[in-house]
C-alpha cells in the first residue's frame, strides 16, 4: 500500500518533498526519503565501548559495519521496550551509513513548501539543531528532522563532549 503511494507521487511537483514518517514516543517525525537506504527489523548489535548511551552499537549489514543510534535516547526520551514494530531505519548520508532505532515507521508523504514552517525557539529546548522544520499534515504536527546533522560524526563528538557520560580524551 505504501509502495502504491510512492508510485502515485513519483513525479513530484517542484516544491514538494517526500518524507518517511515514523513514530517516537507518540510523536510523528519525518526524514527526507532520499536519505533512507532501507528499513530493517531489530537485529543483534555489538556495543561500542565507552560510547554514549544512545549509540546502541554496530550492526553487520551484509558485511558493512554500521553504527546504530537510538533516537529516543538521542532526544532524551525514556527508553522503550522493543516490540514487533521497532525498526531500524538505515540512512545513507553521502555514502556514510547509520541506523536509527524508532518505535515504528508510519508512512511516506509529500509535503509542500507551504506546509512547512520553522520550529519556534523557546527556552531550554534541547536538540533544536536537529529539527529542520515543522509541518501540518491532516491536522497533526509532524517534526521534520535534519538527519544529516544527527549522524554526523562531528555533532557526535560535540554531543559527547557535552554529555555527562562522555569519555574525555
Amino acid at each position: 500500500m505504501e509502495t502504491a503511494r510512492v508510485l502515485d507521487h513519483r513525479i513530484l511537483p517542484a516544491n514538494e518533498e517526500q518524507f518517511l514518517t515514523f513514530r517516537l514516543d507518540g510523536q510523528e517525525y519525518g526524514i527526507a526519503i532520499l536519505k533512507v537506504q532501507e528499513i530493517k527489523g531489530w537485529d543483534k548489535m555489538t556495543p561500542i565501548p565507552n560510547s554514549p548511551p544512545y549509540v546502541k552499537g554496530v550492526l553487520n549489514l551484509r558485511g558493512v559495519i554500521v553504527p546504530v543510534f537510538d533516537l529516543r535516547l538521542r532526544f532524551g526520551l525514556p527508553e522503550a521496550a522493543r516490540d514487533a514494530f521497532t525498526v531500524i531505519i538505515v540512512v545513507n548520508i553521502g555514502g556514510r551509513l547509520a541506523g536509527i532505532v524508532v518505535d515504528a515507521v508510519s508512512d511516506v508523504i509529500n509535503i509542500g513548501a507551504e506546509q512547512q514552517c520553522a520550529a519556534p525557539a523557546y527556552e531550554g529546548q534541547q536538540n533544536r539543531e536537529f529539527i529542520k522544520g515543522l509541518a501540518q499534515v491532516d491536522g497533526k504536527l509532524l517534526i521534520l528532522l535534519d538527519i544529516d546533522r544527527m549522524v554526523n560524526p562531528e555533532t557526535l563528538d560535540k554531543a559527547e563532549a557535552a554529555a555527562p557520560t562522555a569519555v574525555a580524551l
Partner: protein
C-alpha cells in the same frame, strides 16, 4: 571531438615516474660498471642506453601530448644528450652519469610538480639544464677520437641518408609513414625511394599492415636532431637509420628500438594486475559456481542418504572460499622490489657523501606483499639502510685497519615465512657499540648509570624516542628522530623489528611484516557476554593470576608482578565499562600484551581461540574509538571489536575507565584507581 585529456594524466604521471625509476636503476648500473673497471669512461652497453633513452623518450612524448611544456622541454634536452651517448658520439664519463642522475631528479620534481600543481624549484632545474646543454656543445665541439671521423661530420652534414623501415603494425598505432615523409620534405629537398620488396601477393595482403620501407635522401642544412624529431612518434615502431651521405650501408645492424622493447622489464605497475592473477581468480570463481550448483542439487532432493555428499560439498565450498580469498588477496600483492628499487640510489648518493665504499646486495625482491604495506614500508626501510650506512659501515681506512675489505656490504634479504614476510637488513660494519649506546642512554637520562642490562636490552634502547649516538648531526643520521619512528611505523603495519649485532662483524635488522593489512591473526577473548579480538602480534603470553602478585602501591593503579617485572593490570571490563563474568581475578586470565615498548597485563574472563579475521574499519561509518582499532565480523555474523593495545594503555592512563561511571549502562567501577598508572619498562 574534444577528449578530456585529464583522465589520462594520472596514468601519465605513474608511467613517467616508473620510467624515471628505470632510468635511475640503469644509470646506477652504468656507474657501477665505471667503478668496477676503474676507468673514468665506461663502455656502455647499448641495451642499457636504449632502456634509458626509451624512458626519457616516452616521458617527452607523453608530456608534450598532455601539455606539460616544461617537462617536455627538459626531457628533450635530456633525450638529445642520451641520443648522443647512444650513437657513440661520446662515451659516458662518471661526471656525465652523475649529471644524468641529477637530471632524473629534476624530471621527477617537474613531474611531481605537475601532478600536485605545486611549483618545482626552477633555479635548480635550470642549472642542471644549462649543464646538460653545455655538455652537449662540449662534445660537439671536441672531435671525439680519430677512430670514427664520420661522427663529427654527422653533426654538420647537410646531406642525410635515411633508412626508414616501419613495423608492419605501424598503422595500428595511428601513425602514417606518408605524414612523416611529408614532414621530412619540409626540412629540405627530398629524394625518396620506396622498397616494395616486402609486399606480399594480393591475396595475402592485409590492408592494415605496412609492407613498404623507404630510402630517403635529404639535402638541406638540417641538424640531426631535427631529422630525428620527425620520427619521434614512431621510434618504437620502426627500424630507423639516419646517417650522413658519406656513410654507405650501415656497418652494424643496430638493434632496433622495437626489438629492445621486448626486453622491457615486465615488472607489475602500481596496481596493474598481471593476467595470471586474474585468470587464477576466474578459475576459482568457476569452481565456486560448480560447488554451489552441486550443493543446491543436494538441497533440492535431500535425503539422509546424501548426507555424506553434503559434507563433501561443504568441505569443497570451504576450500573454494579459501582459494578465492587467497586469489583476491594476491591481486593486492606487489613484489617488494617496489620498495627496494629506491635503495640503490640512496646507497650511491650517501656513500659518496660520506666517503664510504658500499655495495648493496638485494635478495628476494620478488617476494610479494600487500600494496598498502609496501607504501608504508618505504620510509622505515630507507631509514634502516641509512642507519647501516651512517652508523654501521666504517670509513675505508677503518675497515682496512680492522682487516676487512675496503668495500662494505649492505645486504637486503626478503623472504616469506608462514603468514609473514621477513626483511633482513644486514651490514658487515662495526656492529652495535654497546658501551656507547649505554653511555648515551645514561646521558640522555633514559636509564640510570647503575642499571645492569643485557646486550640485547642495550640494543633495544636505540628504539627509544630521542635516542641517537651519532656524534655530529648530519643529514644522514643523528637527528634522534629515527629508530623509534621506524619501530612505530612498522608496528602500525602490524609488524616488528629486531636487532642482532656482533661487535666488529656487523648488525642485522630483521623486520617482520604481515602479508596483508586486510586480514589479521587474532586471539578472541571473552569478557562477560562480549567477544573481543586481540591482535596476535601484541600478545606476549597469558598467565593465570596469582592473587599474591597483585599489588596496589599507595592505593594507585593495580600492578601485577610477573617474574622480575611489574606490569600495570588493566581490567578490560573496567576500561570498557561492561559487566564481567567475574571480577575475581583468579577466575579469569591475564594476557600480557606489549605495544610501543610498553607492557601491560590485560584481565579477561577467558580465551576463546586463535583465528584470522577480516579487518573492517569502524571509522568508515562511525569514527575512531579509543582502545579499538577496528571491527570484524565473526563466523556467526555478529560484529566483534578488535582491540588496540596502545589505545587501551592510554585509556587506562587517562583514567577514563574509572573517573566517570554514572552512565546508565555502565556497571559501577569496582575499583577506584588513580589516573596515573606508573609505566614500567
Amino acid at each position: 571531438m574534444a577528449i578530456d585529456m585529464r583522465q589520462f594524466h594520472q596514468t601519465f604521471f605513474e608511467e613517467s615516474l616508473e620510467g624515471l625509476t628505470v632510468m635511475e636503476a640503469e644509470l646506477l648500473h652504468l656507474e657501477r660498471a665505471a667503478c668496477a673497471s676503474g676507468q673514468d669512461t665506461v663502455y656502455a652497453d647499448s641495451e642499457i642506453l636504449n632502456t634509458i633513452f626509451r624512458s626519457a623518450h616516452s616521458i617527452k612524448g607523453g608530456s608534450s601530448t598532455f601539455g606539460f611544456g616544461d617537462v617536455a622541454a627538459f626531457a628533450h634536452v635530456l633525450e638529445s644528450r642520451l641520443d648522443a651517448l647512444r650513437d657513440r658520439r661520446s662515451q659516458p664519463s662518471q661526471r656525465v652519469v652523475g649529471l644524468l642522475l641529477l637530471s632524473v631528479d629534476c624530471l621527477r620534481s617537474l613531474i611531481v610538480a605537475a601532478k600536485t600543481g605545486k611549483e618545482a624549484d626552477r633555479n635548480a632545474i635550470e642549472a642542471v639544464r644549462v649543464q646538460l646543454e653545455k655538455l652537449e656543445s662540449e662534445n660537439t665541439a671536441l672531435p671525439v677520437t680519430g677512430k670514427t671521423p664520420t661522427q663529427v661530420e654527422a653533426l654538420t652534414t647537410t646531406h642525410w641518408h635515411i633508412l626508414f623501415r616501419p613495423n608492419p603494425r605501424m598503422f595500428h598505432t595511428g601513425n602514417d609513414p606518408l605524414r612523416i615523409l611529408r614532414e621530412l620534405a619540409g626540412l629540405g629537398k627530398l629524394k625518396t625511394t620506396a622498397d616494395v620488396s616486402g609486399l606480399p601477393s594480393w591475396e595475402q595482403l592485409n590492408p592494415e599492415e605496412c609492407y613498404l620501407s623507404w630510402n630517403v635522401e635529404l639535402v638541406g642544412s638540417t641538424a640531426r636532431e631535427a631529422v630525428a624529431d620527425v620520427f619521434s612518434w614512431v621510434l618504437d615502431d620502426c627500424c630507423l637509420e639516419i646517417a650522413p651521405k658519406t656513410m654507405l650501408a650501415p656497418t652494424l645492424s643496430q638493434r632496433t628500438v622495437a626489438e629492445a622493447v621486448a626486453f622491457m622489464d615486465t615488472n607489475a605497475g602500481t596496481l596493474r594486475v598481471n593476467v595470471p592473477k586474474i585468470d587464477g581468480l576466474i578459475n576459482t570463481v568457476g569452481e565456486l559456481v560448480i560447488t554451489q550448483t552441486m550443493l543446491s542439487q543436494i538441497a533440492t532432493n535431500f535425503s539422509f542418504d546424501n548426507l555424506s555428499r553434503l559434507f563433501a560439498g561443504i568441505a569443497q565450498l570451504e576450500r573454494n572460499t579459501r582459494e578465492l580469498q587467497e586469489s583476491v588477496m594476491r591481486i593486492r600483492m606487489l613484489p617488494l622490489s617496489f620498495a627496494f628499487n629506491r635503495l640503490p640510489r640512496l646507497v650511491h648518493d650517501m656513500s659518496q657523501k660520506l666517503g664510504k665504499k658500499v655495495e648493496l646486495i638485494v635478495h628476494g625482491e620478488q617476494t610479494e606483499i600487500d600494496k598498502t604495506v609496501i607504501d608504508r614500508l618505504i620510509d622505515p626501510l630507507l631509514h634502516l639502510v641509512r642507519n647501516c650506512l651512517g652508523h654501521g659501515i666504517e670509513p675505508p681506512a677503518e675497515r682496512i685497519a680492522a682487516g676487512k675489505p675496503e668495500t662494505g656490504i649492505i645486504e637486503l634479504k626478503a623472504y616469506q615465512k608462514g603468514g609473514n614476510v621477513a626483511i633482513e637488513i644486514r651490514d658487515d660494519g662495526r656492529g652495535m657499540q654497546h658501551e656507547r649506546i649505554f653511555a648515551k642512554a645514561v646521558e640522555r637520562g633514559l636509564i640510570s648509570a647503575e642499571a645492569k642490562l643485557s646486550p640485547e636490552e642495550i640494543s633495544e634502547m636505540i628504539f627509544l624516542p630521542g635516542f641517537s649516538t651519532a656524534e655530529t648531526v648530519t643529514d644522514v643520521s643523528g637527528r634522534g628522530v629515527g629508530m623509534d619512528i621506524v619501530r612505530n611505523n612498522i608496528r602500525s603495519l602490524g609488524g616488528s623489528v629486531e636487532i642482532a649485532s656482533q661487535p666488529g662483524r656487523g648488525t642485522c635488522f630483521i623486520v617482520r611484516l604481515p602479508l596483508t593489512l586486510a586480514i589479521l591473526d587474532g586471539l578472541s577473548v571473552q569478557v562477560g557476554i562480549h567477544t573481543y579480538i586481540l591482535p596476535l602480534v601484541s600478545i606476549v603470553e597469558s598467565v593465570r593470576i596469582r592473587p599474591e602478585q597483585v599489588s596496589r602501591p599507595a592505593g594507585g593503579a593495580e600492578l601485577y608482578g610477573l617474574r622480575k617485572e611489574y606490569l600495570p593490570l588493566l581490567r578490560l571490563y573496567e576500561l570498557f565499562r561492561i559487566e564481567p563474568r567475574s571480577a575475581d581475578l583468579t577466575q579469569g586470565l591475564l594476557v600480557i600484551v606489549e605495544a610501543d615498548g610498553k607492557k601491560a597485563g590485560l584481565y579477561v574472563d577467558d580465551l576463546l581461540g586463535q583465528q584470522q579475521v577480516v579487518i573492517k574499519s569502524l571509522a568508515t561509518h562511525y569514527r575512531k574509538v579509543e582502545g579499538i582499532s577496528a571491527a570484524t565480523i565473526l563466523g556467526d555474523g555478529s560484529v566483534a571489536m578488535i582491540l588496540d593495545v596502545t589505545g587501551l594503555i592510554r585509556l587506562a592512563h587517562s583514567g577514563a575507565g574509572h573517573s566517570v561511571s554514572n552512565g546508565s549502562d555502565a556497571p559501577p567501577a569496582t575499583v577506584a584507581a588513580s589516573a596515573a598508572a606508573p609505566t614500567i619498562n
